[in-house]
Each structure stands twice: as C-alpha cells, then as structure tokens.
C-alpha cells in the first residue's frame, strides 16, 4: 500500500533549498572537493528547475539542515541554476562513490544515480557496458569533479533501482 510518487513540480524554490544546502563542509575544510556539473534533458538542453540531493552515507557532525561547527555534513541539497548547473562542496566519501538523487518538473519520480570519483573494480560498475559505465564516473580536475546528469537520450546516465 505504498504511496505513489508525484513530481516535485517547478515551484519548490521557496521551500526545499536552504542556505547552506550545497555546502556540506565549511570553507577551508581539509581535503574538501567540489562536485559540479549540469543536468540536461533529452534534447541536450539544460534543466533549470531540477533539485539534486547528495548523500555520503553518514549524517556527519555538522547537521543536516542547520550547519553547526567545523565538521562535515553527509547530506546536501542544491537546485540547478538557469543554465542547468549545480555545485556541491563536500568531504570525500568513505567509499568510492556518492549517492545522488535528482528531482525535477517532468520527473514523476526522482531518479537515483551514483557519482564515482574514479573508475575501479566495483560490483555496480562491473555490471555495466563500457559506455554506460562511463556515465557514472566523474571527470577529475584537481579537487573538482565534474559529473553531468543526462536524463534521456545519447549518453543517458545510468539510473538505479534498488
């Protein structure tokens, strides 16, 4: 008797984003990384009204919605900009990947994926064909990891169902 999903719609901006949502760590946090990219639709156009949630697998010490102290939070939330970009500043996860959820107008149910910081032996990655596998691996550029979410079509990101 599960409750069905419905779209987040276009008008969540006054409700769901919060000030420190994209910043899981305070400025100057040692070893922090940036995870950034764009959300694109089936025509390759940016999705300006998506909401992304990042999860590192543990709550952390800095709080989830209210960031206090100097530690790291394990959860972040970021709405896309008009050009479809998002940007998180986070600690590195304990394992090889971060969990990512994408909500948007036009998505009746959130899509779930993973951001792998590097390629390597992994039960999920190893189960995918090479070109599909590549959609889950971020491009590393110093402490910046670039990860685009392609909702549909060429280069479509692998989405997961658990």
């Amino acid at each position: 008797m599960i409750t069905p999903s419905q779209t987040v719609g276009p008008f969540f901006g006054h409700a769901l984003p919060y000030e420190t949502g994209p910043d899981l760590v305070p400025d100057g946090y040692p070893g922090a990384i940036t995870v950034t990219g764009r959300v694109l639709d089936g025509a390759g156009e940016p999705v300006p009204d998506a909401l992304l949630e990042l999860w590192l697998g543990e709550t952390g010490t800095r709080g989830v919605l209210r960031r206090d102290g100097e530690g790291a939070s394990g959860f972040g939330r970021c709405a896309t900009a008009p050009d479809g970009t998002y940007r998180f500043r986070t600690a590195r996860p304990a394992g090889p990947y971060l969990a990512l959820l994408v909500f948007a107008r036009g998505l009746l149910r959130a899509v779930a994926t993973r951001v792998y910081l590097q390629d390597g032996p992994d039960p999920l990655l190893d189960s995918l064909e090479p070109e599909r596998r590549a959609t889950l691996v971020a491009r590393e550029d110093g402490d910046v990891y670039r990860f685009d979410v392609r909702l549909q079509g060429e280069g479509e990101t692998v989405f997961l169902e658990f």
């Binding site: 008797m1 599960i2 409750t3 069905p4 999903s5 419905q6 779209t7 987040v8 719609g9 276009p10 008008f11 969540f12 901006g13 006054h14 409700a15 769901l16 639709d41 089936g42 025509a43 156009e45 999705v47 009204d49 999860w55 590192l56 697998g57 543990e58 709550t59 709080g63 989830v64 919605l65 209210r66 394990g74 959860f75 394992g95 990947y97 971060l98 969990a99 959820l101 909500f103 948007a104 107008r105 036009g106 998505l107 009746l108 149910r109 959130a110 899509v111 779930a112 039960p123 999920l124 189960s127 909702l151 549909q152 079509g153 479509e156 990101t157 989405f159 997961l160 169902e161 658990f162």
Partner: protein
C-alpha cells in the same frame, strides 16, 4: 504498479525528461550507502516551522486547516524523527515563487513552506490554509487540483519520496495528467487525504488525515 511511469506523455514535461532506459536493478551490495539515510536532530527544525499560518506578522487569507498523518514503512511500522517538508500555493492558487506567473494575488502573510519531524508514532502535523487550484500550460484550460507537495525521508535513501496530497472530492481529478499518471486507481486514492472530524478543531480549523507509506528497502525483500 504504484508509482507513475516516468514517461507519461499527457504530462508534457515528461517527454524530454523521462529516462528512456529502465533503471538498473541493483541489489547485490549490502554496504550500499543508499541503505542509510540522514538522521535529523530536533534543533534542525524550528518550533513554528510546522504552522504555516504563523510565519508572518498577520494571518494568511483562506480556510484554516490541519493536516496530519503518519509516515510508515511498508510493513506499517512508524518512521520516527524523520523529516517531512510541505509546500503549497496560497488560497488564491499562487505560489510565493518568482517563477509563478498566475495572475492571482500573493498573500504577504503566507509563504507556503513548512517542515517538521515525526514523533515516536511516526506522526507529523501541519497547520496551514487550504491551497487554491491553479492553471498551468500543459494543455488547453489545464488546472491543477488543489494539492500540498510533500517531501519525506525515511530510514534509507532508497525510500526518499516526494509526492502530492489532494483534497477529497475535487472535480479536477479526472482532468489532471499528474494525478492520472498513477496507473492504478486504488493507488491514486492513496494520494487523497481524508476529511476527519476527530482532527477538526471546533471553532478553529477543518482536519485532514494523510498517511504516507514508504517503499521497502532492498534488505527487506
């Protein structure tokens, strides 16, 4: 099938946004971080966050209502201390969102966003005003039935749910491609709150009950 298929062409925005390939079923890893979820502390939510009628200097215009219910897992067990967020249009059907161009009045006393944590029985409770129906450009003469958006966590990231709560007896139901995207009539019914005289407070506010049941986690299979 409980959830709507992502491609539901009557809801036009799905056409270029729905993934074309089925989600990859992945259940082999007991250490998957998606089996855990953020833990929320009570200091994260303000005392007035759950009362959408008391967030400004004056009271919002509209029909004051109480919306309460329980967040449950698929076995009917309460989910405690989980975050419930709600947002909605005002009584005139206008969102306090810069993108909303519906020519209906804004209400300076209503933002339309609230949050709370569930108690030990999985219960949440919001005080708000009944939102208005509003037009959208999906098709000719398209109107959304009155609804409150809900966002719910759970004990696993896989249970994360965003949905919409509707009000009983709304004549717009058959014409709404978003509600109708849920294929099963009984499942659509679960998105409609129940009027409840026991929740209703005399001389104060009508009461509605809306329970949310989250999906099972992979380890429960």
């Amino acid at each position: 099938m409980t959830h709507p298929p992502n491609l539901s062409p009557a809801y036009r925005s799905t056409i270029l946004r729905a993934p074309s390939r089925p989600a990859v079923a992945f259940k082999t890893d007991p250490d998957a971080i998606e089996l855990t979820s953020p833990v929320f502390g009570h200091q994260e939510v303000g005392a007035l966050d759950a009362d959408l009628t008391r967030q400004h200097a004056g009271e919002p215009i509209g029909e004051r209502i109480i919306v309460t219910g329980r967040i449950l897992d698929s076995s009917g067990r309460p989910i405690r201390n989980t975050l419930v967020e709600a947002w909605q249009a005002n009584a005139a059907g206008r969102y306090a969102h810069e993108g909303d161009r519906h020519p209906a009045p804004l209400d300076p006393n209503f933002t339309g966003a609230g949050r709370c944590l569930t108690d030990d029985e999985g219960r949440y409770r919001f005080v708000t005003i009944k939102p208005g129906a509003y037009p959208w450009r999906n098709h000719h003469n398209a109107w959304r039935p009155a609804h409150i958006h809900f966002s719910v966590f759970g004990t696993a990231f896989t249970q994360r749910l965003v949905t919409q709560m509707y009000f009983p007896g709304d004549p717009l139901f058959p014409f709404d491609p978003i509600l109708q995207s849920v294929p099963d009539a009984a499942a659509r019914e679960r998105l409609v709150a129940a009027f409840d005289l026991d929740v209703t407070e005399p001389e104060w506010a009508l009461g509605y009950r809306f329970d949310v049941v989250l999906g099972r986690t992979p380890t429960e299979d």
